[in-house]
Symmetry: C2
Subunit: 126 residues, 2 copies
C-alpha cells in the first residue's frame, strides 16, 4: 500500500487517533477493546480505525472474526524522516539560547551584584 | 503562543505548506517571493501562511512593510519528539526483517536445493 505524507499527517492530526496508536503500541486490540477506554461508540471507533487503516498506520487481521488491529509503524518512520530534516533549525535555536545564557552569566560574574536597587525601584514604580 | 500537536499536524498535512517551510528553511522570504515558485495567487499563499502562522510554524516580521516570513522550528521539534516514541516499533520491524533474511540465507547455505519436490506437492494439494 502506498500512502502519502498528507494522508499520514492528517490521520495523525486527531487526539483520539493518536491515543488509539498509543494503545496499539502496547499490543494488538479488537474494536471492542479499543472502544472501552475511550468511552466511544463502536461506529465512532470504527470510523477512526478506517482513517488510520487508509493511512497505513494500522493493519486489521483478516483471520479472526474480531479482526484485531495492529500498529503499522512504516508511515510514522516517514514522518520522522521528514521532520528530521528540520532538526538543525531547532538545534540552532537552542545553541543561540545557550550562547545568550552564557553571555548573561558572564556579565553577572563580571559585575558585583547591585545592593538594594531592586527594592528601591519596586517602591517607586506604581 | 501555545499550539497543539493537532494544529501542527493538520497544518503540515498539505504539500504546499510543507514546500513553503522547505523554502523558508533556506532563509526568510516575503509573500511575493513565496508566491513566485509555487505559481500561486497572493491570496492563496496568504491563506497558507495564515495556517502556518496559527500553528506557530512561521513568524512574520512586524517591522518591514513586506513582513517577511521566517521558519519557527519549535512545533516541528514537538512532532519529532512525539513520533520518536514509536522509533522502537519501526526499528523492531527492520530487526525482524534482518532476522528473517538471515534465517533464509542460513537455510540456503545448509540445504542443497530441492529438485522437483515443489511441483509434486502443488499437484497433490487441492
Amino acid at each position: 500500500m502506498t500512502t502519502t505524507l498528507d494522508d499520514t499527517l492528517s490521520a495523525l492530526a486527531d487526539p483520539t487517533r493518536r491515543a488509539i496508536l498509543a494503545r496499539l503500541a502496547q499490543g494488538e486490540a479488537t474494536v471492542t477493546e479499543l472502544a472501552r477506554p475511550f468511552d466511544m461508540t463502536m461506529p465512532a471507533v470504527t470510523k477512526h480505525l478506517k482513517v488510520l487503516e487508509r493511512a497505513g498506520l494500522i493493519t486489521r487481521s483478516r483471520e479472526a472474526q474480531t479482526r484485531p488491529c495492529r500498529l503499522a509503524p512504516g508511515p510514522l518512520q516517514e514522518v520522522a524522516n521528514w521532520v528530521d530534516e528540520y532538526r538543525p533549525y531547532w538545534e540552532a535555536r537552542f545553541d543561540r539560547l545557550d550562547e545568550y545564557l552564557r553571555e548573561v552569566q558572564d556579565k553577572q560574574e563580571q559585575r558585583p551584584p547591585r545592593r538594594g536597587r531592586k527594592e528601591q525601584r519596586n517602591g517607586r514604580d506604581r
